[in-house]
Assembly symmetry: C3
């Protein structure tokens, strides 16, 4: 019941510098094609396209000569051609040609960003471009589950990305913000919640007894109910938070349904966020009506979170009452731990910058 958040740099907030040394979701795989697109990530304008062999490319979307955005240009083989004075650049950012010089000076080059194409996404490394840290690229369990079904979605959010982390670490909002979907009952807000620091990640775990479960999904999984839900939320990087949800059929021992609901938050700026999500289903693969329902439900529920966080950002900019600071209660413990972890990351990055 204290206002911890405003007291120190120990807890990241929207004024904390955006964190660079992580892999962020840059795009869904099928967004990156031979038609170049631009996207701003961590305040940098980036151009994405594929080489003729299909490899995704990310380079700075700004000609080093006169700052013309390269997405207005065109591909010449694997090179992007600036449409102002015709400079050409290779996928590694080096210059391929300056037409008026008939040469390719080494001093003219683009930032080029390491990418990883894995799961349904293309991931981008926003730290030191020469030394991407692959130990910070975390594979998700469900990428290797071939018979599972994966649904994905995207929203653009006019709010800082940290709100999404806080939101996901406190599921007591289900009974209110998402009340129309019957995901949780009012009494579930009283369920005990365990938060564990497991070394390189923070895990939140709680069990909700007597939850609703979509009848179509239950039928598909051969489950009758009543149902309990075991919900894990795992936070490790500022780029994502992995939910793992196990629904247990209380009437049939060992009968369960598993889902992974992973949220990817890629800061565009300090006040805007690319919000991707993936829902990986153990059951439901063959039923297109059921999948359509799940896609709609997930999209609509996450839209409620997005809108809530945008409203919060708006009121923080609009309401200037003297002496206001947010109060923290017991259910915020998970969120506070995550924000504390990010504050440490930010301190590490600040030290690196000074050392470099």
């Amino acid at each position: 019941m204290t206002s911890l958040k405003s007291q120190s740099n120990d807890i990241a907030d929207k004024h904390t510098p955006l964190l660079r040394n992580f892999w962020y979701v840059a795009a869904k795989r099928d967004e990156i094609t031979r038609a170049p697109i631009r996207r701003t990530i961590l305040n940098e304008d980036i151009l994405f396209y594929r080489t003729e062999e299909g490899k995704p490319v990310a380079v700075q979307n700004r000609c080093p000569h006169r700052s013309f955005p390269l997405h207005n240009g065109y591909l010449n083989g694997d090179r992007i051609v600036c449409n102002y004075h015709g400079m050409e650049f290779n996928p590694d950012g080096s210059c391929g040609l300056v037409p008026s010089l008939n040469s390719a000076p080494r001093s003219i080059r683009l930032d080029a960003y390491p990418l990883q194409e894995e799961g349904p996404f293309v991931w981008i490394w926003m730290g030191d471009q020469a030394n991407p840290d692959y130990t910070r690229f975390f594979r998700e369990d469900w990428w290797d589950k071939p018979r599972w079904t994966v649904l994905t979605g995207y929203m653009f959010m006019k709010a800082n990305y940290l709100g999404l982390h806080e939101n996901l670490m406190d599921l007591t909002h289900f009974a209110f913000l998402h009340s129309k979907w019957n995901l949780a009952k009012r009494e579930h807000t009283l369920a005990p919640c365990t938060i564990t620091d497991e070394g390189n990640h923070i895990r939140q775990f709680e069990v909700h007894e007597g939850v609703d479960f979509p009848p179509a999904l239950a039928e598909y999984a051969g489950m009758k109910g009543p149902f309990n839900r075991e919900a894990h939320h795992l936070a490790r990087t500022p780029a994502m938070q992995e939910g793992h949800q196990i629904t247990v059929d209380v009437s049939q021992a060992g009968k369960t349904d598993e889902q992974y609901i992973t949220h990817y938050m890629t800061p565009e700026t300090a006040t805007t966020t690319h919000y991707y999500w993936a829902l990986a289903l153990e059951h439901g693969g063959g039923d297109s009506v059921l999948l359509g329902q799940m896609q709609t439900l997930a999209g609509a529920a996450f839209e409620e979170d997005k809108v809530a966080l945008e409203e919060i950002e708006a009121i923080q900019n609009r309401d200037h009452r003297p002496g206001f600071s947010e109060r923290i209660i017991k259910t915020d413990e998970g969120g506070v731990r995550v924000l504390r972890m990010f504050a440490k990351f930010a301190a590490d990055e600040a030290r690196q910058t000074i050392a470099a």
Copy 2:
């Protein structure tokens, strides 16, 4: 003919802090119902609703927990329920329930604003919430005139509220800005104008001889003309300015028509204003066509003031000519006195803040 306004803190301007220790019009009575609404006043986002018994309530529209705007929630009896994590608050701002704690901590509470419901409006006290100053709540004469007719209107103005005070204290603009309504003739700009400091208010008084008067209103009042107009303007608080207009039938001794035209300016921010007005008519009550004309005339004329003040605010932001400062002439005396009074109020409030 000096540029007094830019010379000192003796005269309030748009950089003067907004004045808190006053009663402002918050809403027309019928705007506040069981359906909660938000409105920003003096940079604070405020929620308005009525209790089950019909009492108006004003509390901060921002949950103290995670800043979610409460107008997205719903009423549970007399309590507003936050739609993010379900916290409930009483009309006095105290917490009624935190569902996840199953208790109501005293440290979690909303600002609650004293209200007065009088005349056609609900008034809000923006000073110390524990000690509203009722001696600063000024009743208007026409609230107690049961057979009079009252018309009201609202406009949102993208300009600082002080311009409205200046505008109303210099009626020489009638012959120009409002020329299409024949409210005053060019020669009336030369009429002498008396400004009197009457203790807790400043009165401006002038007589315009040979004015036009709406024929329908004249017929209703049994007046033939020619007409003189005695115009009083009374400024006392930053929240309002009361006009009292007596039209005298020169051909019939003692035959007059009285109107009160009161202007209410409630700063939303330093650059935007809620502008309410009320027109109280001694005559005209039974004639709906006449009342419609008066409503239209008043709304259209005040709209001219609003647009003019918005244009002035816009040009102040746009025109950056070196060395410019506004010139003051004789007719500005009333406005300057009012702005001087407000500068004193601001100095008083600054002293209180330091003392507190």
Copy 3:
């Protein structure tokens, strides 16, 4: 290949104060009539109208009394009347009447700007209003060519005006940004370019061999081709850049076509520009279809420049990659020389301001 531009105050950039001691195009002649219009130039809001005798007038568009924009008023003979309290002003900026004083105080006056009406334009002097420098008003050759045809155009550009100067001093962009118009081939980017400081102006000269030439214009001029183009660009003031283009019919000795393409950039603010252009044609005068084509071609090509410069301004505001600075190559020499000249102008004006 250095990043000269960010290293010093020797080269003007968008942070350099706008230059005042020059004649800028304020409007096309026919834009200024008896119906007053407003236009912001160098951050000053200016009113334009014509006297009863037809002389163009430019005065500050802001009443010195209460800052009401004068373009909302009306003309009383040659005087502009403020529509707020009726103040009247003469074309020289002096007050003609304050109605409520029934006098015209000398201390109340408007800035009045010297104008020159020449060629297709009205030019405004933005320096010391009492001492316009007519030696800085440069007549253009084609103003005195009575049988030539002149086309003009206007665009509003959301970018600093300096980009237009740089753009025009490096025509290697023709083969890329304007590729659809076949104005230049890729190999022309390698053509040698001569830059000469000719005292009070900088001239850029280059010859492009084997260029396309509009067939209709060739027929009109009795030319068969192949064609060479001699392109001169002459920069002298921040207000304009004069292109002079001579197309030579290689198969007929002495057979040529001349065009002047003059670009006028009038800063509205540091980030917005009034962009006028004039295309003066030696041939083509009698053929309205041909003229329509030329008007369309010029307008569409210059629109490409405008959009490119707006995109550059936008990316400079949006892309915040650490350590970025633009690289300069050989073809930027003309642009850099012009920006260096403007930096000297800015230093001169700063010294004048300190001295004054």
